[in-house]
Subunit: 357 residues, 2 copies
């Protein structure tokens, strides 16, 4: 698709996927689903039919090297001097692409997609992105609204409004709403108007920066200055606000009637924790092994076992258990409690065991 750039912010440690995911080796660098490709590689593979080699990753300096190793030579990688949340990361990419568009005369549309999500129907995904790009060329900030499969309290929602005439599938966005309680999420689902906000934005770089400028002019100006003078990055980066793109741009732009959404039904999962991972790779009634099946003895047990240290892992008489075995750390929990794994990471940091987190 001419002028389409895939922008992939690759950040976030994936604390709830400890001990597989670590600050020094976050989840996007891992083949979490046992597919033979890391989540970052899968993200690249998925977008390649639309973006070709127009692939731009924004990641932390500590991961730059690892990211480059996983992607084709010559892939553009922007390294953030420090983590400053998604607006700075995606804004930096937008400023870089805005400048490139000015230099080449290309009509650039960018699509921003997390590096660590899983999508099962790649064709349906590409189709959705094509629709979103069409609306983006009409200067909408377009978000992809994931068809909810249950009343989740773990995601923010997008409230859809009226269809946009002349733009197949696209609708105006009435509002972005924060993660609701489960009962509120159930009400959302009952209306049929709400979709999950997966943080997928398709937009012209200049539209995104202009929307940001309307809210925070210095922020947008600084991003544009970094793009014009890349050597200013280290000096200017620490001055940027830490804010998520949803709050910085998407919510105010929705209030101003500038956001559109296209529906996405392509088997999306953010692989947020081991419960999510277990649901992705296995059946509820099984004991799913991610890795060497020969290393696992499951006796009247169901759940997810990840043997990762070469040792035999035996599980007896537990349902929905999660056992993750790595050479230096072992996790035992349940699918139900998978969200609480972050407490382990916090406890280890309290103990000064940053080497393990």
């Amino acid at each position: 698709m001419d002028g389409f750039w895939a922008v992939v912010p690759a950040g976030g440690a994936g604390t709830r996927l400890w001990p597989l995911s670590r600050a020094g080796s976050p989840k996007f660098l891992h083949d979490l689903t046992g597919s033979g490709r890391t989540l970052l590689e899968q993200t690249h593979d998925r977008l390649a039919p639309l973006a070709g080699d127009r692939f731009l990753v924004v990641t932390g300096r500590p991961h730059e090297e690892a990211v480059r190793r996983q992607l084709p030579a010559g892939t553009e990688v922007l390294a953030e001097p420090s983590p400053r949340d998604s607006m700075a990361a995606i804004g930096l990419a937008a400023a870089r692409l805005e400048r490139r568009a000015a230099e080449t005369g290309e009509d650039v549309v960018m699509g921003s997609f997390a590096a660590d999500h899983v999508i099962t129907d790649a064709d349906a995904f590409l189709d959705t992105v094509r629709h979103a790009a069409r609306a983006a060329r009409e200067d909408w900030l377009v978000t992809i609204g994931i068809e909810p499969t249950f009343a989740s309290s773990a995601f923010g929602y997008v409230e859809q409004g009226d269809p946009l005439p002349g733009l197949e599938q696209a609708r105006e966005v009435r509002a972005f709403v924060e993660k609701p309680s489960v009962p509120v999420a159930e009400e959302y689902l009952a209306t049929g108007r709400y979709r999950w906000n997966a943080g997928m934005f398709v937009v012209r770089p200049s539209v995104l920066l202009d929307l940001l400028a309307a809210e925070a002019s210095a922020f947008a100006a600084t991003l544009r200055r970094i793009a014009a003078e890349p050597r200013s990055l280290d000096a200017l980066w620490p001055t940027l606000p830490r804010i998520a793109i949803d709050h910085a741009v998407a919510e105010p732009a929705a209030a101003a009637g500038r956001v559109a959404t296209v529906p996405g039904g392509f088997g999306w999962d953010d692989v947020g924790d081991f419960d999510s991972l277990a649901g992705l790779v296995g059946e509820a009634a099984d004991c799913t092994v991610l890795g060497d099946r020969g290393a696992v003895v499951a006796h009247q047990a169901t759940g997810l076992v990840v043997p990762g240290s070469g040792r035999v892992v035996a599980v007896v008489g537990l349902d929905d258990v999660v056992v993750v075995d790595t050479p230096d750390a072992l996790l035992v929990t349940t699918r139900d409690r998978a969200q609480d794994v972050k407490a382990v990471v916090a406890a280890l940091r309290d103990r000064g065991r940053d080497d393990l987190t």
Copy 2:
């Protein structure tokens, strides 16, 4: 106590304590309770006030070396060429001691105690053994009847009869009964007549062998022949029946009115599985760590964690869980299902992984 010999059959792999206990390194060789002493060493320590250096261990050839290393130099160790159950093991010790008594003129009484049980009140235990030895000198086969603390279906029971005149605490044994169902065990407890059979026998060696001879004359004769000609051990051992001492001698002798029992209330535990071990070393409401506490992060979890590989073990949101971490194998189960750990060992053998069992 003059002439008192402690006989300690040290056999049995302790399959339900896998992966701590292995065929090549059975539970009696391990410091399972974190006391700083192995179960075998604890057994020696406990009996030393009565037996001094009159301590005779019967173990398998593969363990002879390890057993000798854990006991004072010069301790007598008989090595079985192959496992042939408890009658052969204890009978061999009896034949050895009968011969010794004949040679030295000592009035030998032997007390046979498993190498892998835990006793919390050593003084009360010694007191009980003294009472038992007095009855043994009157030519009774004396079994120590453990005061039951709950209606267990995991142990055999001894039914007590009338007190024996002139022998403080001792009563006749009406019968040995096999492991009952829990409801039957409850009836037993209600009568007040039943006690657990912990396989502790105190008896004159010649009385034991004569009782055996009454049931199986060739068996007793072969044991006596081995004692007379130790070099015949390898040739004769494989001809001995595989039978437990309870069936071979205790049950028929009880029927013949030759068995006495003295009550034992000294905090006995056979450390049969991880549930039993967890009860021994911790409180039900805690997450008990056997080993380096610093290696364990327990978040809203109770049960038993044995960190044994140097790795960090994190447990989140599980009650009564059992996690046993060793360098080559990991077990995850619950206290409730601890009996089923033997299924793991069976599965590993099926897979040809005898190296791990």
